[in-house]
């Protein structure tokens, strides 16, 4: 790999100056650092080069690392996902961007049939990161707001990561790039630039291990298991419930969806005896169903109430604000479900 002169744009690295960064900037920093650390890391995707990507996650990178390491591709999710697989066979660590995660479905065959099975088939590891902006609450309509994690949750061989904080986002993207398994890395676009999520990140090289959930908020009265944007919706709900009902809600942020940190979930349920699962994805076949079943298998005797879930409705993601608001889980939905559980 030819040595590159690294010209880092002013806005790319802020932690050194002790400035807080957004979740988006945290991801950019994480990728940037891994690009510097490991010459086998390279990026492919649509419009990620000179333009820096639709959301500017890769801004400045092509100038810094060159056109052989930051590659603008044709509009072809099967093509560049397959190319990532081939490069991974040759010892590279490709990081590919789905411009919107909705378009990952175009590469479903390549991801589930080819990439996820490669190690098992004896064709070797596939250290690929497939990342992209996901989620709603931004009036993006049916094809720019989806949460397709459940479609891949059922595929052994994949890992799925979905951070909710800037610190985790950076630590997890770095862990994903270093991981020897294929990782789907979902970035919630409603969280990308939220000022409330700005954080001063550690200066040192840190990772957040894939597969470990995090206690986002300690509590004793009931557990909310959630991830991504609904961590923050759940936090808002927990504050309402504390103020108005005197309830101490524990929030578990899964951070990694596959593999599930079952121990963290069971531990919390055994402590609070009540479980509410909240996710932004639609209900039927959603991840909440799997979590509920595992808790039923492992901690049934500890439950004082039925397991409840708050999810999106079983519909495509609608566009108009009243429709999207009705479709997606809102803070008041979580409050309502938690009150029902607490009173059971």
């Amino acid at each position: 790999m030819p040595t590159q002169t690294m010209t880092r744009p002013e806005h790319v690295r802020l932690t050194e100056e002790g400035k807080p960064v957004t979740l988006l900037e945290a991801i950019r920093e994480g990728i940037w650092e891994e690009m510097e650390r490991d010459p086998s890391v390279f990026l492919m995707g649509e419009d990620i080069g000179a333009y820096g990507g639709a959301f500017k996650v890769t801004e400045g990178m092509q100038q810094a690392f060159g056109q052989l390491r930051v590659i603008d591709t044709p509009i072809s999710e099967i093509g560049f996902t397959g190319a990532a697989a081939g490069a991974a066979h040759m010892g590279m660590r490709p990081v590919i961007e789905m411009q919107f995660i909705d378009f990952i479905s175009c590469a479903y065959d390549m991801i589930t049939n080819y990439v996820a099975t490669s190690r098992y088939r004896g064709s070797g590891p596939q250290p690929i990161v497939i990342r992209g902006p996901s989620g709603g609450y931004v009036r993006g309509g049916p094809f720019h707001s989806q949460n397709p994690e459940a479609a891949f949750f059922h595929t052994p061989g994949l890992k799925i990561v979905y951070p909710s904080t800037a610190r985790d986002a950076k630590g997890l993207i770095k862990a994903a790039i270093r991981d020897d398994d294929p990782v789907l890395f979902f970035e919630h676009k409603w969280l990308y630039r939220r000022p409330q999520l700005r954080e001063v990140l550690p200066n040192e090289d840190y990772i957040v291990p894939i597969g470990e959930a995090r206690v986002h908020r300690e509590g004793t009265d009931l557990t909310i298991v959630t991830y991504a944007a609904t961590v923050h919706k759940s936090q808002e709900a927990a504050e309402v419930l504390e103020k108005e009902d005197g309830l101490q809600v524990e929030i578990i942020d899964l951070r990694t969806i596959l593999p599930l940190d079952e121990d963290a979930i069971i531990r919390s349920v055994k402590k609070t005896n009540r479980l509410l699962i909240v996710h932004e994805d639609t209900r039927t076949g959603g991840i909440a169903g799997e979590i509920a079943m595992r808790v039923s298998e492992k901690a049934f005797e500890w439950l004082d109430a039925p397991i409840l879930r708050v999810t999106a409705l079983d519909a495509p993601v609608p566009y108009s604000p009243p429709l999207e608001d009705y479709f997606l889980p809102q803070t008041e939905d979580i409050v309502k479900a938690a009150r029902h559980l607490a009173a059971y």
Binding site: H89, R119, G124
Partner: protein
């Protein structure tokens, strides 16, 4: 069996080949034919797990195209990804008959350890990546392999095989288009064997010749008689040389005919018997190549018979050893799903129960 007869070359050997190369290609074509015949015997004895796929009539193009690659056994050579009818290509790259038989018998000591079937297996050192069954997918994958050669400034080439059916897939289009715009060192071999399972080419595409697709991608294209070993070698060599010298992608159409069904269980009712008979009688690649070698004085019948005998003896040994191999241990089912070893199966954490039961 040994003979002292030496051929006296009468005609110049083309494409930069030498007599050793010509005889090695003959050995490989013969090995492919004979190995598949042996596999057919094993299939009839119910020793093959699942289906058996013959490449009868296509052995010559498989061997000759792969022979054009720089073949190494230390992971520094060119790479190819074969299709189900490219046993010859894999043997050319150095796959052994024993590995192939173990694969077909689903043995625990097969290259894919019983996880994958027939010739779907990989060896990076020798330079081949096993295909998967969704067709066309290896075009973008091999584009990625070629991309890495370009990124690292390595003087290596990728070759991907597909049948005429796979040219209809989105993966074919996306992979070849990506490779074309990036000017990657990739050779795409389209084996036009007239049928995709039962579907004839006229229901697969409206183009007269697959090479007509090449200009649409801005790449070079060449069509060649797929049952002429030397012609295929020449076309493949030109494409490989173009790729290696920075000339980008070439689509090589290899015109041939599938003389057996899609798999052993397919009775070929949709193929006119007279077509099959005609290709067998007048256009068999092994017969044609043998005639070419002897009529040009590049080899004697005795020399070729000696190679035949050595191939047969070699196969006997390899198959005997392969048959003696163990079946995989059931517990290895969970191996290699993830890098960390056995798949996390939390529902079995407390007791060693059947993982299929909650």
């Amino acid at each position: 069996m040994a003979t002292k007869t030496k051929a006296t070359p009468q005609a110049a050997i083309p494409h930069g080949l030498d007599r050793g190369g010509l005889l090695e290609m003959y050995r490989l074509v013969r090995l492919t034919r004979s190995l598949e015949e042996k596999l057919e015997n094993l299939f009839r004895q119910s020793k093959v797990v699942g289906g058996l796929f013959r490449s009868l009539g296509q052995e010559g193009e498989s061997v000759a195209s792969a022979f054009a690659l720089r073949r190494r056994d230390d992971g520094t050579g060119d790479m190819l990804s074969p299709l189900i009818r490219n046993l010859g290509s894999m043997l050319t790259m150095g796959a052994t008959p024993g590995e192939v038989v173990r694969q077909y018998m689903a043995k625990g000591d097969s290259p894919a350890r019983g996880k994958e079937l027939n010739i779907h297996f990989t060896d990076y050192r020798r330079g081949f990546i096993g295909q998967i069954s969704p067709l066309g997918d290896l075009v973008p994958v091999m584009a990625g392999v070629a991309l890495t050669f370009k990124q690292r400034g390595e003087d290596r080439v990728g070759m991907v095989y597909l049948g005429d059916g796979a040219t209809s897939t989105g993966a074919f289009h996306e992979g070849i288009n990506f490779a074309a715009v990036q000017k990657l060192p990739l050779v795409v071999i389209v084996e036009a064997n007239q049928y995709a399972y039962t579907t004839p080419t006229r229901l697969q595409t409206a183009v007269k010749s697959f090479v007509d697709k090449a200009p649409g991608y801005g790449i070079a294209g060449e069509s060649v008689d797929g049952n002429d070993v030397l012609a295929v070698y020449g076309a493949a060599k030109r494409a490989v040389d173009r790729a290696r010298s920075g000339g980008g992608v070439t689509l090589v159409e290899v015109v041939t005919y599938r003389r057996r069904g899609h798999a052993q269980h397919d009775n070929q009712s949709y193929q006119p018997p007279e077509d099959i008979e005609r290709w067998a009688a007048t256009n068999d690649p092994l017969d044609r190549y043998l005639a070419t070698l002897t009529s040009n004085g590049w080899a004697t019948a005795d020399e070729l018979a000696k190679i035949d005998a050595e191939v047969d003896a070699h196969l006997e040994n390899e198959i005997r050893d392969a048959e003696a191999g163990p079946m995989p241990a059931p517990e290895s089912t969970l191996d290699d799903v993830y890098a960390s070893g056995p798949v996390a199966a939390p529902w079995t954490r407390h007791e060693p129960a059947d993982p299929k039961l909650a």
